[in-house]
Symmetry: C2
Subunit: 275 residues, 2 copies
């Protein structure tokens, strides 16, 4: 590909399901010129309970698929795949790849004033202590308090985002964190930014919320700039964003249209096991 072709190539974004759409949304907002090819592995969701070897195999298949779309960079918009597969896959690729864990951890480590950082996520993410490890790489003395919030994903997927039930659930999950004195809270699951207002209301103004989806898009922007492959032509003048899943395209599309600043009118089902 020539340099102009590379600039016009899309960014590949993948997740185990719909959660990574919050990352796609941030990319659309911050880099309206970039075109996205999104893959959601809706047939094999959730990744959280699967082994490292399986996650690497799944991620490799998805990357093989994204390569057929000639992507210029890849965003692993899934906490589990970022944790288990990112370093392994980076060595196999000749295009840039970033995950969602490090950008959020780095920002939290740098902005905390009292060194007390909270992390909320799925049971898998919290038990893996991956955020703790990444935070300490930038702030050795930070204290990290992790709390799993297992009902947040199903509540978001049910569409109960500004809802009295969700508020009640959030109050219960966040109560132990409120007692720790944290001044920074990482929304450590791709679904959680959709509950940001509600979580902010409960935690109050003294706690800064870190949205890894936002920070990942910031990092992607820098990376594309530095590599000289950032697009400068408006996306509307070119092919539109594309969406692919491994199952249940209708359900995916309805969720996508409820959160993206973009009208998703087609989602194709891919036999991902063949890649």
């Amino acid at each position: 590909m020539g340099n102009i072709d590379i600039k016009n190539a899309p960014v590949g974004v993948f997740d185990s399901g719909v959660g990574g759409l919050t990352v796609a949304r941030e990319i659309m907002r911050q880099m309206p010129n970039e075109r996205i090819v999104y893959f959601g592995d809706t047939a094999r969701v959730p990744y959280g309970s699967k082994s490292k070897a399986t996650i690497i195999r799944y991620s490799r298949q998805i990357i093989n698929f994204l390569k057929t779309k000639e992507v210029k960079a890849i965003v692993v918009a899934c906490n589990t795949a970022s944790a288990y597969a990112l370093e392994e896959l980076r060595g196999e690729l000749d295009i840039p790849i970033i995950g969602v864990v490090k950008p959020g951890a780095e920002v939290a480590a740098n902005i905390t004033k009292n060194g007390k950082i909270g992390v909320i996520g799925t049971v898998g993410t919290i038990e893996s202590k991956l955020y703790n490890k990444c935070i300490r790489e930038h702030n050795e003395s930070a204290e990290v308090f992790g709390t799993p919030c297992p009902l947040f994903v199903p509540l978001v997927e049910e569409g109960w985002i500004n809802d009295t039930v969700t508020m009640e659930v959030a109050k219960r999950y966040l109560a132990p964190l409120q007692d720790t004195g944290i001044d920074t809270l990482i929304l450590g699951c791709t679904h959680y930014p959709l509950l940001r207002n509600l979580i902010g209301e409960i935690m109050g103004n003294d706690v800064t919320l870190v949205n890894p989806a936002y920070e990942t898009a910031v990092k992607l922007s820098k990376m594309l700039e530095e590599s000289g492959i950032k697009c400068d032509a408006p996306v509307k003048a070119r092919a539109p964003h594309e969406f692919f899943v491994s199952d249940a395209a209708e359900r995916f599309m309805s969720f996508a249209n409820s959160i993206l600043p973009y009208d998703v009118d087609t989602t194709k089902v891919v036999s991902i096991e063949e890649y």
Copy 2:
């Protein structure tokens, strides 16, 4: 095996995860002499969004594993596997096998007085209309009203069983069913019997709840009796129940101990893809 050996052989019970434990619980209550070998496919849960071919393949692997435990009969304690794999697998087996859908559907079809039957379940179960089909085989003129309740499974798995949040969620899900005039309601997901009291309180005394876990155990008892392989020696005099999963044994065991009338002190992880 001789006849006494067959009588003493265990019953294999499997599910995509922990839900089928409600069926194991009913078997323990109704047939305290029977020994159970339970397999929960916790690494590949949920089955609801997977294709028929995949579900058949997974079920076949699990049955191959259960056969190594010399089970005398198999209970498919999972709605999706009952729907997709049961008939296919029956032809391959030389021991009896039953599922959870037909026993509940048959009872509901027979006990309804006004011919209006409600079914609650996962999105997959409701969209498949399998209960509708099975009910109509016994009651051609029955009207069936299905409502998915996607948050019930995560709420039960979080242990919020007698809980104000769960009550609020249930009221919202069941409201449309209350307007239909049903006199019978099938709890069409293996987790839902754990919410029976709460659902009963909302639906009132005029609606009879059908618990497929209970009806499946009743049918199993008849089947073992008719085949002359029902156990007559107390389970305590023999090997205890056994529990196997494909991942996350600790989490499984803690859930099992919260609902079973039996102390689960060991759960082994099986590499089910090798069977």
